[in-house]
């Protein structure tokens, strides 16, 4: 399976270990990643709030690039996923809007044809690879590890708007359990991390992350596991920010899901990757609890 790899802005800029882990893990699971060239920002919350036409055109430009490659898009970020998926769905369903967007895109030599699909890392691992194949790829099951999963809002909720109400998004937890780890339920699991308001209203962004950390702390877990770089940032760097502003410490290590997977597949994390985590993760690596 081959995918057009949409990295987005945040990961290559600040979360290299997410990128390096994906580039190691996915090929080992039979997923080939083809880098996209010349993509622009997906148009997340802040840009979407500016105006509708810009959002559609900016996101569609990326979809066109994937169409030109003849591949579906794989993204690692919930915001990118939400933006690209929603625009893809809207333009596929609404010919009038598609035509208007194509008028704009023609000025930059692009045309949206509706030939690509947008998938998140979780979609690809769940549907293309599958839980069973994942289990087979696990060489060192993470038994006894208790984790709190953060699916993140933009992975699940707007999807329901366009693809129908899905009761509870269990795919992510199933994938985590395939590594041998135990997924622990906690209050308000589907609540936002506060990411979208980062740099817009930091006080609120922090307070929301803090509520999540409090809920997760009550669940007594070894680590938080995320599938979105914003959730990761809010919880990892966020704990330092919360320590500064609220004088509270949570000591909750945060892992990208691919890092968890990597550990379970027996691909050790490099030192620089371990050190890139603001909240130390060495404790959960050593001797595996």
């Amino acid at each position: 399976m081959k995918y057009a790899f949409f990295l987005g802005c945040l990961i290559p800029a600040r979360e290299l270990s997410y990128e390096t882990s994906v580039r190691k893990v996915l090929p080992a699971l039979g997923i080939q990643l083809v880098d996209m060239k010349g993509t622009n920002c997906c148009a997340p919350f802040s840009i979407q709030s500016l105006n509708y036409a810009s959002w559609l055109a900016l996101a569609a430009r990326n979809l066109c690039i994937a169409e030109e490659m003849g591949l579906d898009i794989l993204t690692l970020c919930n915001d990118c996923y939400e933006s690209l998926l929603m625009v893809n769905t809207i333009l596929k369903q609404n010919t009038k809007l598609k035509n208007r967007v194509n008028e704009i895109l023609s000025e930059v030599g692009k045309e949206f044809k509706g030939k690509t699909d947008v998938k998140h890392l979780v979609d690809v691992l769940y549907e293309d690879v599958g839980v069973d194949k994942l289990k087979n790829a696990v060489k060192e099951p993470l038994t006894k590890m208790r984790v709190a999963t953060q699916p993140g809002c933009h992975l699940t909720k707007p999807k329901r708007l366009h693809l129908g109400f899905i009761k509870e998004f269990g795919a992510f937890d199933e994938l985590v359990r395939a590594t041998g780890a135990e997924t622990v339920d906690y209050d308000r699991r589907e609540m936002c991390c506060g990411g979208p308001l980062r740099d817009i209203n930091d006080e609120l962004s922090r307070s929301v992350a803090r509520q999540k950390l409090m809920d997760i702390k009550n669940a007594d877990v070894h680590s938080i596991v995320t599938v979105c770089p914003f959730c990761f940032l809010q919880f990892d760097l966020g704990q330092l920010e919360i320590k500064r502003h609220f004088k509270e410490e949570y000591n909750l290590p945060v892992l990208h899901f691919v890092e968890l997977l990597r550990m379970a597949m027996g691909m050790k994390l490099e030192d620089w990757e371990i050190n890139s985590h603001r909240i130390p993760i060495s404790g959960i690596l050593k001797g595996r609890l």
Binding site: F165, K167, D185, D187, R188, N218
Partner: protein
């Protein structure tokens, strides 16, 4: 040649009423009921609204009349499997499931029940209490015979050995009965929407979040707690109880865009019953609109407020979170009248779920050849001019299986009588 008999599917209050009306005219009635006893939902209720009459006390005499009437034949623990023919001349194949007890011999003494070693959750009590593998679903069951749940039976034979009437027959086989009738009435009632489809409300995860039907069983003297209203997590008396309306009703996410009609009414009733059980309790009802139409209901709600101090809060709760240590529940909501976001802690939360078609309704519709509407309720041939006729001539329907109308017990009784009149028309044509 019109067959001078009618098949009534469903032994709830609506089907019972139709049966009695027709039998009193000398028309032969076959009353088929899937569960071991007739009675339906009304038998599960504690008290009715707005008069607060004991539900089973009103129902039982009608049930007994059904069992004694010479023109009514009860086929309980039975299912309709095949229907052919047309109005005036239907042939129906009914499967009589084996209860492993000879109905003619069983006296309903209950000694077998005492000796049975197996305990399983009791469906009649919404699985809050237990029954034995050989059981009577509730004390006033009609027919007054026991049934063996073979799936859970150990086949130890104890029941057989203690039965004075030699009624137990563990080798009993299913029996197919062929009936010839001139008309059919469907009165199979409703199921409750499963609130665990709304994860934010915690049903299924939190022990002290229950449905209104579960509450009825807790309030009922014949229920799993002997009528003592206590919390399921620790058996303590709840001091702060919340009712949440519109759980799944008026909700496009689940396709139940309709209003279930009776929840505003019954929750006020249940709130009053709760206060009667525990006068010091604080009871709140979270609603979107208060739909207490018809005679006596607005008055009842006014009484609930003024006399019983029940608090009506105009808010549809956002989420319900459990306090792990106490198993109490925090409800987050906005008091839309005051415009403020609040959190209140309760010991017990009662959800009022949507009333939906039974899970087996579609299958039954196929067997009968009748249409269902977009919600899965049986479709009337015309909602205005022939509301109890189904889309097949000669087949009629009554009660909640037709969907929410007024939805209360008098409504179901009225519809039962209406179908009886329609049936009589068909039978008189021959």
């Amino acid at each position: 040649m019109t067959e001078p008999a009618v098949l009534i599917i469903g032994g709830g209050i609506s089907g019972i009423q139709a049966s009695l009306d027709l039998a009193s005219r000398g028309i032969k009635v076959y009353l088929v009921e899937k569960s071991p006893s007739i009675g339906g939902r009304m038998a599960q209720l504690d008290k009715t609204f707005p008069t607060l009459d004991c539900s089973i006390c009103i129902l039982a005499p009608k049930m007994i009349e059904c069992s004694h009437h010479s023109d009514i034949q009860l086929l309980t623990y039975s299912e309709v499997k095949e229907v052919s023919g047309s109005a005036g001349d239907f042939t129906v194949k009914v499967l009589r499931k084996p209860r492993y007890v000879d109905e003619k011999k069983c006296t309903g003494c209950g000694i077998c029940i005492e000796h049975c070693p197996v305990e399983v959750p009791n469906e009649f009590d919404e699985k809050l209490g237990m029954r034995k593998a050989i059981y009577m679903p509730f004390p006033q069951a009609v027919p007054r015979v026991v049934t063996v749940d073979k799936d859970n039976c150990l086949e130890c034979g104890l029941c057989e050995s203690v039965c004075q009437a030699k009624a137990v027959d563990l080798g009993q086989e299913p029996e197919e009965v062929s009936l010839k009738v001139g008309a059919i009435v469907v009165a199979v009632g409703f199921d409750l929407f499963n609130p665990s489809e709304i994860p934010a409300y915690g049903y299924g995860r939190y022990k002290n979040v229950i449905t209104a039907l579960e509450l009825e069983r807790l309030l009922c003297a014949s229920g799993p707690t002997g009528g003592h209203l206590v919390r399921l997590s620790d058996g303590r008396i709840p001091k702060k109880i919340a009712f949440v309306q519109c759980v799944g009703s008026r909700d496009i996410r689940f396709g139940n865009t309709y209003c279930s009609s009776i929840c505003c009414k019954y929750s006020a009733k249940d709130a009053v019953l709760v206060k009667e059980h525990h006068p010091d309790a604080h009871v709140s009802i979270f609603y979107i609109d208060l739909r207490a139409f018809g005679r006596g209901f607005q008055e009842f709600i006014n009484r609930a407020k003024s006399e019983f101090g029940i608090r009506f809060i105009r808010a549809s709760p956002g989420e319900i979170i459990e306090e792990h240590a106490t198993k109490n529940l925090s409800i987050w909501y906005e008091d839309t009248v005051a415009g403020s976001i609040e959190k209140l802690v309760f010991d017990l939360v009662v959800l009022c779920p949507a009333l939906v078609p039974r899970t087996d309704a579609k299958e039954l519709a196929k067997v009968l050849g009748i249409e269902v509407d977009k919600y899965g309720f049986f479709r009337a041939s015309d909602n205005i001019t022939s509301p109890v006729d189904t889309t097949v001539p000669g087949i009629f329907a009554c009660g909640y299986c037709l969907g929410p109308k007024t939805g209360d017990i008098p409504d179901s009784i009225m519809q039962g009588s209406a179908t009886a009149a329609r049936v009589a028309e068909v039978l008189m044509e021959g």
